[in-house]
């Protein structure tokens, strides 16, 4: 029996500690962010209390972009240098991106309901873009699950993930252009310059979301690696 499965004890402890540290950081940042949102930051002059949705909605959207970009970067690394784990890392990052993307759609929908009285609006660029990205990256999962595991699947997933980063700016431009012939811009979320306290709250929430992504990413990756190693062991023992 090969010993390489169990001689990483020290490395594994380090990795687990890093994960625990990340989780603690996320917990602290999330608590601080929520405390700032509800007990520190003043009400927005235009939108009042409901503007507090902004402090979670926008950082989640930003984090989703980071996930997709990270997934595409890992895909590029896979196609370029072919290290062993890049395909799995790209997949996990895009999976996280899809989870955050769903959250963007849900929180955005609730925000649209409270501020404009409707559950969905085609006039919010970000929501429409996330709907397109949701469809695109759901198709990524369909592609992945319809192919047999192996280098072919890794390559195709990587190519499709790279198409995603090309699609994001092009779609954004398309949505901007489409507004002119579908209907004019009515709402604008980016009000005047954010006040200092608002900016601070926003930054803390953004940091919280990014560290949440990092924590979940490493947790899921560790699970997936463990799963793969276990399967290897099973085959070796069978």
């Amino acid at each position: 029996m090969t010993l390489s499965f169990c001689d990483h004890g020290a490395v594994r402890t380090l990795r687990e500690n890093r994960l625990a540290a990340l989780a603690a950081l996320t917990f602290a940042l999330m608590g601080a962010g929520i405390a700032l949102v509800f007990f520190y930051v003043p009400n927005d002059a235009d939108q009042g209390f409901s503007q507090r949705i902004f402090y979670f909605h926008v950082p989640i959207a930003f984090t989703a972009y980071v996930c997709f970009a990270w997934g595409a970067w890992k895909a590029l690394v896979h196609l370029w240098k072919r290290p062993a784990g890049a395909d799995l890392e790209s997949y996990v990052a895009i999976h996280q991106g899809l989870v955050f993307g769903c959250l963007v759609l849900l929180t955005g929908s609730i925000w649209a309901r409270i501020s404009w009285g409707i559950w969905w609006t085609w006039s919010s660029d970000q929501l429409v873009l996330f709907l397109i990205l949701f469809l695109f990256y759901s198709a990524y999962f369909m592609l992945r699950y319809s192919l047999p595991p192996g280098p072919g699947r890794a390559n195709m997933s990587a190519v499709y993930a790279l198409f995603g980063v090309a699609l994001i700016p092009v779609s954004f431009l398309a949505i901007r252009l489409a507004k002119d012939f579908i209907h004019p811009v009515v709402f604008n979320r980016d009000g005047p310059q954010m006040a200092g306290s608002m900016f601070l709250t926003f930054c803390v929430c953004l940091a919280a979301m990014l560290s949440l992504f990092a924590t979940l990413y490493h947790a899921e990756l560790a699970g997936k690696r463990l799963d793969a190693r276990l399967r290897e062991l099973k085959e070796a023992l069978a």
Binding site: I34, F38, F39, N43, G48, F49, S50, R52, I53, F56, H57, I60, V99, C102, L103, L106, T107, I110, W111, R113, I114, L212, L216, A219, E220, G223, L226, D227, L230, L233, K234, L237
Partner: protein
């Protein structure tokens, strides 16, 4: 903290947003925990398998194998 001008519906919707995010993360963790439990069961099954093999391999080697090769198992 919250000024009086704030309506109850507003508070409800903002709470809903934060609750949705919380529930998503919770659901994610739940899925992860079930997965970990499955991995744990598989590891236990594998350990059982190894123990069974070792048990049935142990009695014979002293009689059959040359002394130099006993340590391999």
């Amino acid at each position: 903290m919250i000024p009086l001008a704030v309506t109850m519906t507003e508070v409800k919707y903002v709470a809903a947003v934060y609750l949705v995010v919380f529930l998503f993360v919770l659901a994610y963790l739940l899925i992860h925990v079930t997965k970990l439990q499955r991995l744990e069961r598989e590891v236990a099954a594998l350990a059982e398998l190894v123990r069974g093999r070792r048990a049935e391999a142990e009695p014979e080697p002293e009689a059959v194998q040359a002394p130099g090769r006993v340590s391999v198992g």
